[in-house]
Amino acid sequence: MAAGAETLKRTPLYDRHVAAGARLVPFAGWEMPVQYTGIREEHVAVRRTVGVFDVSHMGEVETAGPGAEAFLQRVLSNDVSKIADDGAQYSVLCREDGGVLDDLFTYRLAPARYLTVTNASNHERDLAWMRAQAEGFDVELHDRLADYAMLAVQGPDARALVGTLADGELPRRFRTTVLTVAGAPDVLVCGTGYTGEDGVELLIAPQHAPAVWDALLEGGAVPAGLGARDTLRLEVCFHLYGNDLIEERGPIEAGLGWCCKEDTGFIGSDAVRAARESGTAETLVPFVMTSPGIARQGNPVVGGGEVTSGTMSPCLGQGIGMAYVPAEKAEPGTPIEIDVRGRAREAEVRAKPLYTKER
């Protein structure tokens, strides 16, 4: 289908983005702000003070019922039984052959009620996949995409700001709480994020989202777009589905073995176990450019492998990225060459994360 042939969806904050001077672009079927004043400025605001991202394009699937835990244990790679009553957990959704269908956060709302946040581009597929696996489990799956707007408030000042707007204590990291925020009732406040900074994510009924957005901006939050979200997550080496994770790659080679607990018997666990035991041909590694230029997604690594994400790091002032490289080149410090549009450019494999906060 030609770009623009479909109608793009808009979040409840569309008018706010236009008013704030956002550049709106199509992203996974949505019309989303890629930047307001500039990627670098927004990036630095999140690292130094506080930024707010509209991530309402992300999907939500609710799993409820007596068999909820057993079902999620079957489809998600992590040990779901370890999620506290108010907890949050990262995992991947795998095919039988271990290929990664999505990476997701699951929040436990009640003992037998969970909310799983999907990537916008994968939401329909995830939901269909989960429904197809649900037979035999005493669960109900609900598509909650339309029921939540989602704001990520991130940065060293994020908690202080949200704290002034909320009627109770904010959740710790990887915990959740339901609070009234800026007059919006029943906001699911989650101690999670995608920037490497402290902060919270807010799941809000769509009609209340504009008031929360306004209050955050009034309190000093800088609107930040998907452009800054990408540079921020890449500096701390968080995966982006569609770039660093794809169906044809497994979690072990992607460096996500830590969120796979094969003993739970999740779909794909046999393949993941085999990959963990015998090793993989390629491994996802972070790198920095040691020569001028910026490697981009799709640039080949000389000698095998491929760049999956690449950008200019606003904090480091040099080109950074992630690439799949042959396993023998995965050690931090290993020099690699990347074919950047026909020119061999020098880079070096580094350890995660590429950016560490000065404390």
């Binding site: 990627i39 001028p292 950008t311």
Partner: protein
Amino acid sequence: MADASYPDDVKYHPEHDWARIDGDVATFGITWYAQDQLGEVVFVEPPEVGKSISKDEPYAEIESVKAVSDVVAPLSGEIVEVNALLTDSPEKINEDPYGDGWLVRVRLSDVSEVDDLLDRETYEGSLS
């Protein structure tokens, strides 16, 4: 970033380049619209002095935070100078696209090609 501007003292190429003609030498750069579309420029890969370039063909690369873009030559000729300021200050392309943000100076091989370029009014009209 500077406000939108399209000066009268340059000629425009539909691929969002400008050329300021001085006899058989021209200075090239990208237009305000082009730098606005790119976003913050973070790296410029200039061509080498002495290289021949052809009208409508890419001759340089500009990297923004988001992506890399080819820059198309508005006219044909030989590169006689590249803007060394951009090595350390690529953001000049955003701040002053028709001044300090110029890219190259070119000795033109066919001055008659200038007739193919657009004046300000025609170029600006093409943007809406």
